[in-house]
Amino acid sequence: MKRILPFIIILVVLAAALTSAWYLTRTIPASQNPAANQPAPASPGSPQASPEQSQSPVVTGIPGADPPHVLGPANAPVRLEEFGDFECPPCGMFHPILEQMRAEFGDKLQLTFREFPLVPTHQHALPAASAAEAAGLQGKFWEMHDLIYEHQNDWKKEFDVRPIFEGYAKQIGLDVERFKRDVGSDAVALRIMQDGKRGHSLGVKGTPTVFLNGREVSFENLPAEKLRVVIQNELRGAGQ
């Protein structure tokens, strides 16, 4: 018996590990990770958004920076609010998805961007947020926002990102000297802090976190094909 006991123990541990893995893989929903084994949609071309979207509560939270950075009409039936971190890779991946949604839904979709730099996880998140906000003081937040996201892989590994962001400022036609002053200004810091406080009041813990008409969109619904369905459902609910 003593000779076969270790083999029994090994088999028990193997069975327990495989059972745990099987159970957890089934209970944790797959997300937008390109490496993830996502379940196939019910039928080709008709992806299903996770059903909990319509059940998640509407939250309001405390106000963020005022005025917020908004694209799209104020009376749009669908209002999407993103809490983002410019250095966060999934936020960088989400950027073109939002561009795609804007192109598809036009005036029916309003976008709001809120700063949520994850400090200290991302060493350049705060300078990036400051650069975008400083550009916003000259009326070019979205231009800087787009440049920073689109070139995320160019600057995130650099030691000093300030000259890179100053280069972007020049590229989009900002007054660079004013931009340099504004990056470290109280006004910029206050805006980032206010957005962060709003995020915390809404329970934001990571990025990107997206709210659609005040309801949080689960992370698994952020890929384009699922987000499109969530927005369409919201439009149907608004009678559009």
Partner: protein, 139 residues
């Protein structure tokens, strides 16, 4: 000797749990969202997290399971298992050192689960070195 093998088996159980968790997180994509507390999203979404299409965490889970099996067999008197255990743990330690280097200097983010795994491998190395060091003389 037996206590050390038992300790190695227990540590490798913790390693299996850690690596299995990371594998599931990787496969389901849960750690891809960035959070304040963890750099796991950067680490697990990096090119180094997958080897030949297989998540590195899954390879780690298999390695820890092999360590567990060998330590358990050695505990019950299978000497050959103890002999195989040493080079395996040494190899795992060097892989851990390489992964630590990648986190520190290439990805520049640390994932606490990866660090926990590295700590377990280091403890396993100390155990197998102790087993070689204090090996009783053959009669």
């Amino acid at each position: 000797m037996k206590k050390l093998y038992a300790l190695a088996a227990l540590l490798s159980l913790a390693g299996i749990a850690d690596a299995l968790y990371l594998t599931i997180e990787h496969v389901t994509g849960q750690t891809v969202r960035c959070t304040i507390l963890s750099g796991c999203s950067e680490v697990l979404s990096s090119q180094y997290a997958v080897v030949a299409g297989i998540p590195l965490a899954a390879v780690g889970a298999a390695a820890y399971f092999t360590v567990f099996s060998l330590a358990t067999l050695a505990l019950f008197g299978y000497d050959i298992a103890g002999k195989i255990l040493t080079p395996l743990v040494v190899a795992m330690f060097f892989v851990s050192v390489w992964l630590f280097y990648l986190q520190a200097f290439v990805i520049r983010q640390f994932c606490q689960y990866c660090l926990f795994s590295a700590a377990i491998t280091t403890c396993l190395l100390v155990i197998v070195v102790s087993l070689r060091w204090f090996k009783p003389a053959a009669h």
